[in-house]
Structures are given as C-alpha cells and as structure tokens.
C-alpha cells in the first residue's frame, strides 16, 4: 500500500493503517533496532514501542516521508534503550559503526554542544548531497541504520572487503570536506 494511503488510514484511526505500516516497514524498523541494540528480543519490543509512537504521533503529524519518519522514531527509541553506561562494550553493530566513524574522525566525538553538533550534522548533510547515490547509501545504511558491513556487502552484491574499503574512503573524504568547511580542526 502507498504511504499516503497508510497515513490517511492512520488519520482515520483505522487499525488497518497500522497493519499495513507493520507489513511494509516492520522488518526495516526491527532491523534498525536490532542493529543498535544487538539483541532480537529488545529489538522486537523496541519495534512495538515504535508502532505505538507512530500511532500516537499521526495525527496530528503528517510526515512528508512516512519511511524516514518511522525510521527516526525507531532509531530514537532504540537509542534511548541503549545502555550508554556500557559504552566500552562493542556489543552491537551500532557501537562498532560509531567507533569506526569516531576513529576516522575523532573530532566528531568531541562535539559536545548542541550548536557544534548541529553544524556538523549540516556539514554531513551537505557532504552527502554531493556524493554518488551509492556512496550515500553506504554511509547512511552504515552509520544511521547501523547495518553491518556483511549485510551491506550482501545488499550491494559486493565483497565485505570492498565495502569496508569504500566506507573508509567515504570517511576520509568526509573528514577532508569537514576540515575544508572549517568544521573540524
């Protein structure tokens, strides 16, 4: 079913809307949660929380992109469950992905103020806008959706090694770009 129809059903408070949303995006949302939490049971609970959040949010929200809206909620729900006090443990794809990015561009981890973080986010968005679609896909799937390198390799039909290298090159380019923009020391 098209997203617009799902949103219309949710506006009518029809449970059919939720059924359609789960059928269309359930796997994706659960995947995001599993990547971040590293645990299938927690991921399932997190996905259920996400459905409830979406149900509560629409209406009044009328998202321009239902997929991005649901992904953001799933990601935020998973992150709030994420045990930051276990920060030293690399127990999920997400922790590994964040460390990977942090090791390549250490300054990202030091951006503590809201303003700094927002400027870097804007810089990353401008960088992504200028990239080839496939590179943008790799970056977003790896660092936003927290897909593992092996999953990305399978999705793209490439070897894990070539995906790793490509991600490495993208991180290098991003660092150069952010430096050039004056956003990194």
């Amino acid at each position: 079913m098209e997203d617009q129809k799902i949103v219309a059903l949710l506006f009518e408070r029809s449970e059919q809307g939720m059924t359609e949303l789960i059928a269309k995006y359930g796997k994706l949302l659960q995947g995001i949660a599993r990547n971040i939490l590293g645990n299938a049971l927690d991921a399932e609970e997190c996905a259920n929380d996400t459905y409830l959040s979406v149900w509560n949010a629409i209406p009044p929200e009328q998202p321009r992109s239902l997929a991005a809206f649901c992904c953001a909620i799933a990601r935020n729900n998973a992150l709030s469950r994420y045990q930051w006090d276990n920060a030293q443990k690399r127990n999920s794809h997400y922790a590994i992905a964040l460390d990977e990015l942090g090791e390549s561009i250490p300054a990202l981890g030091n951006a503590e103020s809201e303003t700094e973080a927002r400027e870097l986010t804007d810089g990353i968005n401008r960088f992504l806008a200028a990239q080839k679609k496939e590179d943008r896909y790799l970056f977003v799937r790896r660092y936003y959706f927290a897909d593992s390198v092996a999953e990305l390799a399978a999705q793209m039909g490439k070897s894990p090694h070539s995906v790793s290298v490509r991600l490495f090159r993208i991180r290098e380019k991003l660092q150069k770009y952010l430096r050039k923009e004056g956003l990194l020391p």
């Binding site: 995006y25 994706l28 321009r64 992109s65 997929a67 991005a68 809206f69 992904c71 953001a72 990601r75 935020n76 992150l79 930051w84 920060a87 997400y94 922790a95 964040l98 460390d99 990015l101 942090g102 990202l108 981890g109 030091n110 951006a111 503590e112 973080a117 927002r118 870097l120 986010t121 804007d122 990353i124 968005n125 992504l128 806008a129 679609k133 496939e134 943008r136 896909y137 977003v140 799937r141 660092y143 936003y144 959706f145 399978a154 999705q155 793209m156 039909g157 490439k158 070897s159 090694h161 070539s162 790793s164 290298v165 490509r166 490495f168 090159r169 290098e172």
Partner: protein, 307 residues
C-alpha cells in the same frame, strides 16, 4: 560520551537521505532476467577462455592468484552466495571483475626488485610484477620475513638491558598447537623441532623470535588507499588487492592518476617476541611494534620509458 556525541550528530541526517536508503540502489536489478542469464553465461565462457590464456602464456602471481579466484567461482560446490536472491547479479559482477583482473594480469611488467626494510637487511619486499596505466595499479610481490636475517635466539637472559622494553609475560592456551604449527614468528619446521627437542631435554625453553607482517593499509604517493593487499601465502607471495586499486569498484584517488610513475608504500611491521615453554605451559611477551615503510616505485605501463 564520545559515541553519544557522534550518535547525536548522525540523528540529524536529512530524512530525504534516510528515505532514499530504505530501498537499496538497484541499477543492476533493472536488467531483465533473460538478459542477466545471457550475460552470465557469456561471462562464464569468457572467463574460461581468459583463464586458459593467462595460464598458458606465462605464470604470474597475479594470474595465479586471480585466476584461482575465477576457478573458485565456477566450482558448483561454491555455495556461499546461493542463498541470495540476487545470486545471478552477484555472480555476474564477480565474473566481470575476474575478467578485468585477468586482463590486467596478462599486461603486467615483470620485475625483480628487492626493497629491504633497511639498507643491508634481508627482510623486505620483492616486487615481482607490476601494472600501472594511470588509472589502475596492481602488483605481485613476495614478502621476505624478518626471521630470514634474525633467527631464533635461545639461551637468552631476560635480565639483559636489551629486554627492558619487553612487555609482561602472558599465558597462552595454545601450547599443543604452537608446538605443532608455530605461529606468525615461528614458521619454520626446523625451528619447531629445535624448540620441542630443547623442551624435552631441559623441561623448559625460553627464546626470542621475530614476527613480521604487512600493515593492511597501502599508500600511493602518500595517499592512504585503505586496506588493499591480499593475504600472504606460506611462501610469502601476495598481490595488491584487485578490488580497490582502480580495477574494481573503487577508483584510485585523483592525485594518483595519469602520472609517469607512482610510489606505492607498504608498511612492514616487525616485532620481537619472547616465548617460554615449561612442562605443558606456554607464556609469551611482546616488544613494541616497529614499522618500516617500504617504498616501491612503478612506472606507467602506457607511457614511453626514458632511456
């Protein structure tokens, strides 16, 4: 906090990009199945032809290594990707890659240049063949291990100042495997025999050996190309990985393109390790890793050489 900060930054990724990435880019999947199959069959036939030509013409490391990957792809027992929905696309892509690799393997320039890690050293890398056409590079090399020049030292005195930088002795649980197969530092059968004989004779043996390996990252004219050399085989042969040196999916950085020659740097890592076997226990201690950049310059095959 570090991860939390990065996570906060990433949370603001433009929803348009997130939406774009909900479904994967699938340019290749737009091919009709029949066309895919035809290309697949054609690629497989071409691969066989190229494979035979490459082996018949001359044995080269690149031809051997890359050709064996092509043969591996044709093995009906090769099931690793059969569970994938896009198996035909994947296989087609791999065959096309092998075609490109074998094409390059047939155009390499034979070399025989040994680059030591230090003047006079027996440890280093020998360049055996090379290829650079301004857009792509490839190399076949042999790794000369550090233990060629520095054999195992028995009867060492750990109180000697030379061992001041040694780390703490740590237990290892692979006593039996170590005696049978050795490890990165103990590669020769005669060394393993000597260690076993001394252990049997004295009940304890302490010795120092050298480990050496290549750092994953390869540099071209100072640019980090990423981890891009293949595994080193037991005889030390390895290739610069074909997937990312401009041959496959990732291009060489612009600063490395269309030059008369290019300098490739591999980082040779060396480490001293002390082992102590006593009864049926194994302990070891490592020294700090020393890194030696090994620079190998290769000429552009497509440009006339100065005489």
């Amino acid at each position: 906090m570090k991860r939390e900060n990065i996570s906060k930054i990433l949370s603001g990724i433009d929803p348009a990009f997130v939406e774009e990435c909900v479904t994967r880019p699938s340019e290749r999947n737009t091919m009709k199945h029949s066309k895919r199959l035809a290309v697949l069959i054609a690629a497989a036939c071409l691969l066989v032809a190229l494979g035979i030509t490459a082996y018949a013409a001359a044995r080269s490391i690149l031809g051997d290594f890359w050709g064996s990957y092509g043969e591996h792809l044709q093995d009906p027992q090769e099931q690793r990707a059969l569970g994938r929905e896009d198996y035909a696309d994947w296989l087609e892509g791999e065959h096309q890659m092998v075609d490109k690799m074998l094409d390059i393997a047939g155009k390499t320039t034979p070399q025989n240049t040994f680059v030591p890690i230090e003047p006079g050293s027996k440890a280093g890398i020998t360049l055996l063949e090379s290829y650079y056409d301004g857009e792509k590079i490839a190399m076949g090399c042999q790794f000369q291990r550090m233990n060629l020049q520095a054999p195992i030292q028995f009867d060492i005195d750990l109180n000697d100042p030379a061992y001041a930088e040694m780390g703490e002795m740590q237990p290892r649980e692979d006593f039996t495997e170590f005696l049978e197969y050795g490890d990165n530092c103990i590669t020769a059968e005669e060394d393993r025999k000597e260690i076993a004989a001394r252990l049997k004779r004295d009940g304890k043996v302490t010795f120092m050996a050298w480990g050496s390996w290549l750092s994953d990252h390869v540099y071209a004219n100072g640019e980090d190309l990423g981890p891009c050399h293949g595994d080193i085989d037991p005889e030390g042969y390895f290739t610069v990985d074909p997937m990312i040196m401009g041959i496959g999916e990732v291009e060489l950085p612009e600063s490395c393109r269309n030059l008369p020659e290019i300098t490739v740097t591999l980082n040779y890592c060396v480490q001293q390790v002390v082992y102590q076997l006593e009864g049926s226990t194994l302990r070891w201690a490592e020294f700090p890793i020393q890194r030696y950049p090994v620079n190998i310059t290769i000429a552009n095959n497509t440009q006339p050489q100065a005489t």
